[in-house]
């Protein structure tokens, strides 16, 4: 089936339909909307990391000329509502409290009030006149502080979900403890010839999307709400805003703008509920835009982590036992990806005996959001560093050691289900065969290799394909396009209907104009929304065949579809094939408009595996390091548009390199973020990097008609350990704490 299918459009590299608008500056992003009479909102944020809000006096702000509305936590209802998202649920209470604090400020930058005024300057000046009386509390900044006996408790009503330890205290900062186990751990370690155990830490880092959060909301006197916003999921914005504010979702229409990056950080709502409430109070549209400082302090980072990892191996390299404890910072409210981390941590390997525990821990930092393969990079940094050390101590090639233990089809994943066809072995073989792996290294250089794993999501998607009378087509979906999914969807329509890609117009529709779609995330759009698109195109194709049957006056079973034409089968063989254009031209006469529909609830998407090879050069006098060569190898299932698949691999690798070498949230003792800007939060720039070579391995995913697998997230998983392993090669020092910034490297080298 899919494996043998030959494709005409899938696998080619057409120019994306939205490209021209983006290279000429015409494309509209979140901050690019304006409406007549629009006001500008400004958020007042807590200067304290942990404080009870005693009182808020807004009178001076309200009296300022030009100010049209002021709101505080009192204007946002407290709610217990939840939003279902696949298997998971989003708690709307914490999301609302995070958008505007009710009783306590839980991190520096937590919103406590908001103002709408006739200009951004007036709004900002008025916000500064709001008098908030705080009772400052001791901040809890790290997992160690949060777990210490007698620790300050962030939420009085927090109880540990999952499997709390028997002797766990009743008042706690641990929101969740989970366990995964298999086999006999003690016997496993007893049978090992070599055991390596180390503790690893990774810092809190930000997704770093270049476009700050931004929206415009208009509340009508009839209760109808319009929101324009930059988001990964406008249906989530609709349902979350409606749920938090207690409005009917059908009263809210959300129009997604072009989105300037998200990586998981543009899933929660931050500004939208405030803009809606300000607009309701002011009777005018309200625009809200975060500054970069706001983005760092009050949106999205991912968890800082501590992972204790212990792996036992036989002399021949067989891994026999593993135990891991994962401690993840959730930020101010429960919800770190600790559980996902636990499920990923040894997913590439068949280890018969293991015990993994994971803790979700609240601290006085911003509430974490998803970040590309959430939970996996930090977990696999630990595993892949220990595996590298085992290989080194056993004198084995690190790829051979991995190959010996690599999971394959039929093996049970540590988190339960059996793997279907997966490409880990093929990826490892390709890594070993790559010229990079054998290339000579220069002085002060080291080479590291590491694996990565991610589940990939399925979830719900809707698509429609409509034909025009001239034989061109439109495809409409409901997933914001962050990295080229529209062109991929058009290509799928081309593949099914035989219409050239440039005659298919792909569109991302607002919440009123297409059926429900889950978010753009989980590497699911090309896979799951793609399935909906293919279904919709096939529905249109079936209708085209039925029209041909009508024109030929034959039974529909006498018509088949081939390369963009209806062709006659037995019983109609005297007829001439009819092209899409010919059929579309007769559309109104043969039964009316042709609209294909596809709606899917896609299963989990087939796991993705990747490896990276990293060469690093270290200046031992300054501790400065440079990545000098980098190769990413990944099982992508089937690359629909290979350029954008490579782009995902390259971008993910570079985000991971940044995480490994430079990026970190730096807090002072009082819990103030000291580097909330791009100057001090150092993301990789063009001159830091070499080209990022890519190798695409295609092991077809049987869940998808073309074999597509999610590709967007797994690329960020291998780099952390690939870089650290390269550093170990270059310096002889095994680093366990990221980032490997010059001062840290220098310190380790002078201590060594």
């Amino acid at each position: 089936m899919s494996a043998e299918r030959t494709f005409e459009y899938i696998g080619t590299r057409p120019i994306r339909h939205d490209g021209l608008d983006k290279v000429t500056g015409r494309a509209n992003y979140g901050a690019d909307f304006t409406l007549p009479g629009m006001l500008h909102g400004h958020v007042l944020r807590s200067p304290h990391a942990h404080a009870r809000i005693v009182s808020i006096d807004t009178s001076a702000a309200e009296a300022t000329p030009g100010v049209k509305a002021v709101i505080t936590g009192k204007d946002i209802p407290k709610t217990n509502a939840k939003l279902s998202l696949g298997e998971a649920a989003m708690e709307l209470g914490p999301m609302g409290d995070n958008a505007l604090a009710h009783d306590k400020a839980l991190y520096e930058g937590h919103a406590v009030a908001a103002v709408a005024a006739t200009s951004p300057e007036i709004a900002r000046e008025a916000a500064e006149k709001i008098v908030v009386v705080y009772e400052v509390l001791k901040p809890v900044m790290t997992v160690d502080q949060a777990l210490a006996p007698g620790a300050t408790i962030l939420h009085d009503d927090l109880v540990t979900k999952g499997k709390p330890l028997a002797d766990a205290p009743k008042h706690t900062n641990v929101a969740l403890r989970m366990e995964l186990k298999r086999g006999d751990l003690e016997a496993g370690f007893a049978a090992a010839d070599l055991i390596v155990e180390r503790t690893f830490t990774t810092p809190m880092v930000h997704q770093g999307y270049i476009e700050p959060h931004a929206c415009v909301a208009r509340y009508g006197e009839d209760g109808q709400v319009l929101v324009w916003t930059t988001t990964q999921g406008h249906f989530i914005v609709r349902d979350a805003s409606a749920g938090i504010l207690g409005i009917d979702a059908a009263k809210v229409k959300v129009v997604p703008s072009e989105i300037g990056g998200g990586f998981g950080g543009k899933i929660p709502v931050y500004l939208e509920p405030l803009a809606i409430v300000l607009s309701r109070k002011a009777h005018r549209p309200v625009k809200m835009v975060m500054s970069r400082d706001d983005v760092f302090r009050a949106s999205g980072p991912t968890s800082g982590t501590k992972v204790r990892m212990k792996i036992g191996a036989k002399k021949d390299g067989t891994l026999v036992a593993a135990s891991a404890s994962l401690y993840y910072e959730a930020g101010a409210y429960p919800g770190s990806p600790a559980g996902a981390g636990a499920m990923c941590v040894i997913a590439p390997y068949t280890i018969p005996n293991f015990m993994i525990e994971a803790y979700d821990i609240v601290v006085n930092r911003p509430k974490v959001a998803a970040y590309r393969a959430p939970g996996s990079p930090a977990a696999m940094f630990a595993t892949e560093s220990v595996i590298d050390e085992i290989a080194q101590k056993l004198g084995m090639d690190p790829i051979d050691l991995r190959l010996k233990n690599a999971a394959q089809e039929g093996d049970s994943a540590p988190y339960g289900p059996k793997y279907g066809p997966i490409g880990l072995k093929q990826v490892l073989e390709a890594t070993k065969a790559h010229p990079h792996w054998k290339a000579p290294l220069g002085p002060n250089q080291g080479r590291g290799v590491a694996c990565g794993f991610w589940f990939n999501a399925g979830l719900n998607s809707t698509a429609t394909v409509s034909l025009s009378a001239d034989g061109s087509a439109t495809v409409v979906t409901g997933n914001p396009d962050i990295g080229g999914t529209r062109v991929a969807q058009a290509m799928m329509v081309s593949e099914e209907l035989g219409i050239p890609v440039e005659r298919v117009r792909p569109t991302v529709a607002d919440t009123d104009s297409i059926g429900y779609n889950d978010l753009t995330g989980g590497s699911r759009v090309c896979y799951a929304t793609g399935m909906a698109v293919i279904k919709a195109a096939q529905d249109a194709r079936d209708q085209l065949c039925a029209r041909a049957a009508k024109i030929w006056d034959v039974d529909p079973s006498c018509v088949a579809w081939e390369r963009g034409r209806a062709i006659p089968l037995n019983g109609a063989s005297d007829k001439e094939p009819l092209t899409v254009s010919a059929l579309a031209a007769k559309m109104t006469a043969t039964g009316g408009p042709i609209v294909g529909r596809g709606a899917v609830s896609a299963p989990m998407a087939g796991p993705g595996f990747a490896t990276n090879i990293c060469d690093i050069e270290v200046d031992k006098e300054t501790g400065v390091s440079r990545v000098v060569r980098y190769t990413a190898i990944q099982d992508v299932g089937k690359a629909v548009h290979p350029s954008y698949v490579e782009g995902q691999m390259q971008g993910g690798a570079v985000q991971g390199i940044g995480w490994a070498l430079n990026e970190e949230y730096i807090y002072d003792e009082a819990g103030h973020l000291e580097n909330a800007g791009f100057l001090d939060y150092r993301m990789p720039v063009a001159s830091d990097l070499p080209m990022i070579d890519t190798v695409l391995i295609e092991v077809a995913n049987p869940l998808h008609p073309y074999g597509v697998r999610g590709v967007g997230e797994v690329p960020i998983v291998p780099p952390l350990a690939a870089v650290a392993n390269a550093m170990a090669g270059a310096t002889g020092v095994r680093f366990t704490d990221l980032p490997l910034s010059p001062p840290r490297v220098l310190k380790a080298l002078s201590g060594a």
């Binding site: 590299r13 120019i15 994306r16 939205d18 490209g19 021209l20 983006k22 290279v23 000429t24 500056g25 015409r26 494309a27 509209n28 992003y29 901050a31 690019d32 304006t34 997704q207 770093g208 999307y209 270049i210 476009e211 700050p212 072009e258 989105i259 300037g260 990056g261 998200g262 990586f263 500054s291 970069r292 962050i482 990295g483 080229g484 548009h641 350029s643 954008y644 490579e646 782009g647 995902q648 390259q650 971008g651 993910g652 690798a653 570079v654 985000q655 800007g677 791009f678 100057l679 993301m683 990789p684 720039v685 063009a686 001159s687 830091d688 990097l689 080209m691 990022i692």
Partner: protein, 164 residues
């Protein structure tokens, strides 16, 4: 404080507007002239998404006052293409898939154009250092650097054709 009357040239058009003394060129372009192609990623000169040319010089418009444009020429991303003829850099970005989300693209197009205005034969290293002030979080820069090198080649060939 009173507003300032700015007479300037934007993308070749004589243009005038009133602005506040402290208003940035970025805000004036976006909010007064409707030229929203120039983006704000940071407002502090660190990301390059607001890049424009002022008298042919590459500047972050978030660090330039609108009043500094008086009697000078400003080129924004909207002025890089001439009619329906894309600049070779724009065409190369499309062909090389050098954008994912595209928010950094306007700044990068302007920055790359300003490099190629000076040097149509840059090395990879020269491209990487020239673009070091423009953050892109999506692409890892690989395809961006390739696109700029390709555009340089196209421009070299164009000049040699003209000479021939």
């Amino acid at each position: 404080m009173s507003t300032i009357h700015v007479r300037t040239t934007v993308n070749g058009e004589p243009t005038e507007f009133l602005c506040e003394p402290a208003e940035t060129l970025l805000d004036a372009l976006r909010n007064r002239l409707g030229l929203t192609g120039t983006k704000e990623g940071c407002g502090t000169g660190d990301c390059g998404s607001c890049s424009v040319l002022l008298e042919g010089r590459l500047v972050p418009s978030c660090l330039v006052l609108a009043a500094e444009a008086i009697d000078r020429e400003v080129l924004t991303v909207e002025g890089v293409a001439v009619g329906d003829a894309l600049h070779p850099v724009q065409q190369a970005f499309l062909e090389q898939a050098a954008l994912q989300c595209g928010i950094c693209t306007p700044g990068l197009v302007v920055a790359a154009k300003s490099l190629l205005d000076r040097n149509t034969n840059p090395t990879e290293q020269e491209v990487r250092f020239w673009l070091a002030g423009n953050l892109c979080r999506c692409t890892g820069y690989d395809k961006i650097v390739r696109a700029v090198m390709d555009a340089a080649e196209v421009m070299r060939n164009e000049t040699s054709e003209v000479r021939a």
